[in-house]
């Protein structure tokens, strides 16, 4: 009996947003009279952090502290239309809609401040801490609260904004497949190290080293959540998961979590992540959606690592111990490939 180590590599790119576009999202932003802001969306927070990332985007664009902004999702009576939370479109599409809405609200806020300070709105800047002042003259200042209060009670202005982001639908050519699928791509590359038991076909993931390019990590902790959890899911897809273990035979479909297999907390491996940021020209502050692409490279990297360890190519997912063992048997034993 022997356990064999192997390393496998894979790299991918991933299209951000619904393919071909045609998937609008809207946002509404308004302030209370004391300069605290609400963002209304109909987008969904599934755990990916939609409320949180749009909150940061709104605060950044408005020029106010994040604590002064709250995001409300998702009520069809108050939140304007959004296509939904899928296709890695949330950050990109909704984020852009929030920027547009926040820019509009910010412009009103600055006009209100300008009127109070008796200056030109174009000369005003925000300090991100709740103050607005004249560029180059920090002493000529007014708080966001005072500006918004003045707008509401003295000037009769609505410190609010509407935003929409739409990439118009692209056609697909039936003959050649010519199309404009999306406007930006995220990237990833990773190395998976596995250990394969050549008598049972068991595969254990030992370590993952990865590099993910996400445009901009709008919130590094939320990005990390996606990348760590996504890689776990990729590992799960590679080695464990199936609703039809004998596909295309339809029998023995799992109906519970005892038989629908996913790696448990005892199966996880250290995952060392590097985050690269090449801002997307049309992404909100350059951000691309990291939520989907993070799982994809793990599947082939595991397959390649298994091959590197024992010389067996399993081209059908999931790479179960049975498939690995059959491969080892078919070639008369493990055939470890070049160490890397």
């Amino acid at each position: 009996m022997a356990r064999h180590r192997g390393k496998g590599f894979a790299c991918i790119n991933y299209p951000i947003g619904m393919n071909l576009g045609g998937d609008p999202s809207q946002a509404l932003v308004h302030s209370n009279p004391d300069g605290k802001f609400m963002v209304a969306l109909s987008s969904i927070d599934l755990g990916q952090g939609m409320k949180s990332v749009t909150r940061q985007i709104a605060a950044e664009t408005l020029g106010v502290p994040v604590a002064d902004v709250y995001v409300d999702t998702a009520d069809s009576d108050t939140g304007p239309h959004c296509m939904g939370s899928f296709a890695s479109r949330g950050t990109h599409r909704v984020g852009n809609a929030v920027i547009q809405a926040a820019q509009e609200a910010r412009a009103v806020m600055l006009e209100a401040a300008a009127e109070e300070l008796e200056v030109n709105a174009a000369d005003l800047v925000t300090d991100g801490k709740g103050n607005i002042h004249v560029k180059g003259a920090p002493s000529r200042t007014i708080t966001v609260a005072a500006a918004c209060g003045a707008a509401q009670f003295k000037q009769g202005r609505t410190v609010s904004g509407r935003g929409i982001f739409l990439i118009p639908l692209s056609d697909v050519d039936p003959e050649t497949g010519e199309m404009t699928p999306v406007s930006c791509f995220a990237h990833a590359a990773l190395v998976v190290e596995v250990e394969v038991d050549d008598e049972t076909g068991d595969v254990a993931v030992v370590e993952i080293n990865s590099a993910y390019e996400v445009g901009r990590a709008l919130n590094p902790r939320l990005v990390e959540q996606q990348l760590v959890g996504g890689a776990w899911m990729g590992m799960s897809h590679a080695l464990w998961e199936t609703t039809e273990p004998y596909y295309p035979d339809r029998s023995h479909g799992p109906v519970d979590f005892n038989t629908y297999l996913m790696p448990g907390p005892g199966n996880i491996a250290p995952h060392n992540i590097a985050i690269l940021e090449r801002p997307a020209p049309d992404g909100p502050y350059g951000g691309k959606g990291p939520g989907e692409m993070c799982a994809n490279p793990v599947l082939p990297a595991v397959a390649n690592a298994v091959y590197n360890a024992v010389g067996v190519r399993v081209d059908e997912l999931p790479i179960t111990p049975e498939k690995v063992l059959r491969g080892i048997r078919a070639q008369g034993g493990a055939r470890p490939q070049a160490r890397r």
């Binding site: 496998g8 590599f9 790299c11 393919n19 969904i44 409320k51 940061q56 502290p65 995001v71 999702t73 009520d75 069809s76 939140g79 296509m83 939904g84 939370s85 920027i99 547009q100 820019q103 991100g128 639908l169 056609d171 697909v172 050519d173 003959e175 050649t176 497949g177 404009t180 699928p181 791509f185 990237h187 990833a188 590359a189 990865s210 590099a211 919130n219 899911m233 998961e241 609703t243 039809e244 596909y247 295309p248 799992p254 996913m262 992540i273 985050i275 690269l276 940021e277 090449r278 801002p279 020209p281 049309d282 502050y285 692409m293 994809n296 490279p297 082939p300 390649n304 059908e316 997912l317």
Partner: protein, 558 residues
């Protein structure tokens, strides 16, 4: 899990001095999560809540001779039995909201079932237990039919028809072909010139999204003659629009509330629960909950469908891939849901993040007698990426190259022409390869280490192929007239109602050093697609009133 921010890459393309962006701010919703108070859809209590359960097909494929609900109706606690005839507009396809594809799936089936678990009747009862017990008393007279489970078997002549809307078990693209094509250059000529040809077959398994919260919705009559619906949907207005259409009710009478969802991963877009719960509320006047239990979530709820891919690469001795050919089969299960769209996305993704001068693909959306497939994290891409990246290793072996160096050599770079005929920009594959290799202590050559996404692209690599071979393979007879489909009414896209093209979207963020926002411009000159004759304007459709994109018809037409 140490995370390092590699700020040295692309530093001159970023302004890192922002107030809130880039900060590790706590999640807005975290306090609710750790106190258990985050309001998921099922955390809304209603007095007098009724529960809906469905009677489901035990067969993979069967005709329904009759349904006898008399015993079930008399069971204690049963308030209402819902059959197909109770659904006002009982045929839908999810992407009809984008005007893509034909309505092919009932909410409750009446004549035939095409997958195990397909609902044929719903029971509304005072408790979940009462609904379950009544379901067991519904007597269905089934006539089992031959079933087909393998994608390549399903498209052979003589295979049982799974989906009556698409009798050949293939979705029809552009009213013209039984698959989606990608044609770029001349792969056969390139194979003939290549030093090695590497072939492979890859199979992706069906996978359950497995959110910890199962799919569900609670609907209740609301004041003002409306219905409120608390839902686990991933797409609030998608579900609202689908409900409005199936129930033939104004979208203004529906008030959807959601947004806090216990995981989705693509499994909560199918909008099966919202219309059923609202229908229950309409028929009983009481709040109704319809949710999948875990067994339904796993075997009735749509998975990420299986995919089968055949790949063939032509490669030169020095590792340059000169041609790549794909044949792909998406197992859509019994109905279309989103598989047709996943294929368009996959085709737009081919041949992966590499610059290859000749690319060809035929990708088929196949109907089989299994649970319909839908979206999942990595939708349309995960399966083919598995195929591509496993195949890349085989190519590396064939030419005796290090697998990472092979990728870097073939990686797409800024300015390269892609197979979907748009120029690449904002690429970063090379850098990701380099950093991953470095972190894993995987030695690569100095040339590979020095490569960059910013250089080496464009120029000749920006050119379209001098000649692209096209063909009429898979032409659907009578496609233009709708003869391919047995749908009673074919709806031509309503060009007259097409909205004006919106203005270019606004620049995204006020970062001064960023180039002006734009997406990929088509190259010039593009390969002219054959111009279809202008369709006749058609009268208003028979669809429900809630269509948000009245005629975004590009997908169907051309």
């Amino acid at each position: 899990m140490p995370v390092e921010m590699r700020k040295e890459f692309f530093a001159d393309e970023r302004d890192d001095n922002l107030n809130e962006i880039g900060k590790p701010t706590q999640r807005q919703d975290i306090l609710g999560h750790v106190t258990g108070r985050s309001p998921f859809y099922d955390d809304h209590l209603f007095e007098g809540l009724l529960h809906i359960r469905c009677v489901r097909s035990p067969h993979h494929h069967a005709r329904i001779r009759s349904i006898d609900v008399s015993q079930a109706e008399r069971m204690p606690g049963v308030k209402r039995v819902i059959l197909a005839r109770d659904v006002p507009h009982n045929l839908n396809t999810l992407l009809s909201l984008l005007d893509f594809g034909l309505d092919d799936e009932p909410l409750i089936s009446e004549k035939k079932v095409s997958y195990k678990g397909e609902p044929v009747c719903a029971i509304v009862a005072e408790s979940e237990r009462a609904a379950r017990e009544a379901c067991a008393k519904v007597r269905v007279d089934w006539e089992p039919l031959p079933a087909v489970f393998d994608v390549e078997e399903a498209i052979k002549p003589g295979a049982p028809t799974v989906n009556e809307t698409y009798p050949a078990n293939l979705f029809v693209y552009h009213d013209r072909y039984d698959h989606q094509k990608l044609r770029y250059g001349d792969v056969e000529a390139a194979f003939a010139r290549a030093d090695h040809v590497v072939e492979g077959r890859y199979q992706m398994s069906p996978i359950e999204q497995a959110p910890m919260e199962t799919c569900g919705a609670i609907a209740a009559p609301e004041t003002n003659d409306r219905f409120v619906c608390y839902t686990s949907t991933q797409a609030l207005f998608f579900s609202l629009g689908t409900a409005a259409k199936l129930l033939d009710v104004s979208s203004a009478r529906l008030h959807f509330i959601g947004g806090t969802v216990g995981g989705g991963f693509g499994g909560k877009v199918d909008s099966l629960h919202e219309p059923m719960a609202i229908l229950g509320a309409m028929l009983t006047g009481r709040p109704c909950k319809y949710m999948f239990d875990r067994e339904e979530e796993m075997q009735v709820g749509a998975p990420r469908g299986a995919e089968r891919w055949y790949l063939k690469d032509g490669v030169t001795r020095d590792g340059r891939i000169v041609a790549r050919k794909f044949t792909g089969y998406f197992d859509s299960g019994a109905y279309t849901r989103l598989s047709s769209y996943a294929i368009i996305k996959a085709v737009g993704h081919l041949p992966g993040p590499y610059t290859i001068p000749n690319v060809y693909a035929d990708v088929y959306c196949v109907f089989t007698n299994r649970t319909p497939a839908t979206a999942m994290r990595g939708f349309g891409i995960t399966g083919v990426d598995f195929a591509i990246e496993t195949h890349m290793d085989k190519v590396a072996e064939a030419v005796g190259m290090d697998p990472i160096e092979l990728r870097i050599l073939n990686a797409y770079r800024d300015g390269d022409m892609k197979a979907h005929r748009r120029l690449a920009k904002n690429t970063a594959l090379v850098e990701c390869c380099q950093v991953a290799a470095e972190k894993a202590r995987w030695q690569i050559s100095p040339a590979a280490r020095q490569a960059s996404s910013l250089t080496g692209g464009g120029g000749e690599r920006a050119q379209l192929p001098p000649h692209t071979v096209t063909d009429q393979k898979g032409l659907v007879p009578g496609g233009r007239t709708g003869g391919y489909a047995r749908a009673a009414k074919r709806k031509e896209p309503d060009f007259a109602a097409r909205p004006a093209q919106p203005a270019a979207p606004m620049p995204a963020a006020p970062a001064p050093q960023r180039p002006a926002a734009s997406w990929e411009a088509p190259p010039s000159p593009p390969v002219p697609p054959p111009a279809p004759p202008a369709p006749p304007a058609s009268p208003a459709s028979s669809r429900g009133p809630a269509r948000f994109s009245s005629s975004i018809s590009g997908l169907r037409r051309r």
